[in-house]
Amino acid sequence: MSSLKLRNVTKTFGKTKVIHGIDLDVLEGEFVVFVGPSGCGKSTLLRMIAGLEDISGGELWIGGRQVNEVQAARRGVAMVFQSYALYPHLTVRQNMGFGLKVRKEKPDSIARKVDEAAMTLQLEKLLDRYPRELSGGQRQRVAIGRAIVGDPKVFLFDEPLSNLDAELRVHMRAEIASLHRRLENTMIYVTHDQIEAMTLADRIVVLRDGRIEQVGNPKELYAHPDNIFVAQFIGSPKMNICSADAFAPELTRAGIPMEGVAQIGLRPEHLRIVPDGGLIKGQVALSEYTGGGSLLHVEMEGAGRFLVLSEGQEGPQPGDEVQLDFDTANLHRFDAEGRSLQAAREPVPA
């Protein structure tokens, strides 16, 4: 059953259109991540779902009810903000019970629900503290707790981990994933970090300039990007893209159909350094040691610079000539508009 449905949803600020007809179905209990670069409209779209921004056109359905004209508080959604938005003059308990108090619930009911949420998030010992007395991770948990207390149909997360340090971000990411497994609510999560998107999502929605570029599960997006933008946005380090002309003879000799191919793409982790017999070759310009191996910047003749992941401690050094090989199944071919020319494929299981 569809928990949330967007039909040709648009948003206009003055004369500027920032969301261009979004169509999307989110299933009950699904964890969907909106990902895209800064300014792509992902937070605006989330705020439109929350009811904090008007919808200029199209339809928004939540739980089988069209909610375009329904107030934010009556949509059955809760949101965790990037800044956490914890009221600094209220304790953790008061912050978590704020919505229930506003809705005039009885004090004992508020206390019970806050205690339950606090137990879920292991916040029991922090209930009488003020936000200023909490660490970043604890504040994050309180913000999630405040969302849980209202028992919403849909949770919305607006870049909730971006204010945390790298280590805590990994920890909180795991906590959010585990929370989703326990609560089984629909969750929509906005981030610009593709690693966060890949690790958390059942499905990822890649956005650019207010349009959906591709929707799919993480493996599908990684293995079969619809276009160069998605190909380069998903995966780290990003996919190498170059003109097909640079290696057309070699690739044709290898039996790869090159008709209509304008650009090709290869992920750094799919390129192997071989002693000889490689399909393509280049010269190492820079080697960045990463611990487990090195990230090589290889200058390819007529194809610009490629990134290559080299495993092991003794990799090639700057100035070395290297030959590169790859499994032709991992070659991505794009037409002149940047659209993928991959053969029709079966959906990749999540």
């Binding site: 009811g51 904090l52 508080a73 009556r74 809760a78 990037q82 938005a85 009221y87 704020f98 919505g99």
Partner: protein, 307 residues
Amino acid sequence: MTGHVRTGTTAPRAPWLTLRRREMFEGWLFVSPTLIGFLIFFLGPLIAIVIYSLSEWNLLSQQMTYIGTANYQDALTQNPDFWHVIRNSVIFAAGLVPLNMTLALALALALCRPGRGVVFFRTAFFAPVVTSAVAWAIVWKFLLQGEAGAVNQMLATVGINGPNWLREPDWAMVAVIATRVLKMVGLNMILYIAALQSIPRDYEDAARLEGAGNWQIFRMVTWPLLAPSTLIIMVITTIGSFKVFDHIYLMTGGGPENGTLVLAFYIYEQAFEFFNVGYASALAMIMFAIVLVLALVQIMLRQKGSA
């Protein structure tokens, strides 16, 4: 490789002008203009006033005699005018401070977000703050004239027979408070706008998502977050209301029947009309103490409220 140990040599002496000393010297150099100004124009006169307040010094006779606390005793126990003046000052402050702050907050709430005409209205409400006090008073004296005044003529159109605002003791105080509020409300409005704009929008969004209406958002989120700014605004408005002089001087001259004679104007009268500088200095010290106590009480109440 072997290390070498030097013997028989002394470590070079540290220069007198160490980094710490140089930074300290530069620091004092930077604050010195303000510090010198403070000493000459604030601390010096303050000390002089304390000395004058303990003396009998008539400007005409140019004789200064030490009389201890007699000026203070006279003001506090023997001079009925003093308590009348204090009463007027308290009425003026009690009328002006809440009216000014309420109006300023209402205007700030209406004008804190970008919108059509917002800049015009902000400018319009702030313009009186930078308008000459003399021009403001002349215009309002004209508008508040008895039957011929524009205010009364407007009231007459709705059947109200307005009083002679600046000639009747009770109404004169109302008139000076109202015109002072209109002149100065723009300043507090700007302070409140700055405070409102510093409150992250996420708080309001979060409250709205949780079902709070505009009034609940104001009462439960905005107002508590404005508390530090409100305290500052209240303290400076209260101090300003006790120090008001030019407005009274220009609008009513303390009249009618001393109905608007407030402390700062009374001090001026004592010093420059009756030339009792010693007595005026004692009154000034009392005013200083009153304002200090009021500010401290407000700060203590705020701290108690936030504890």
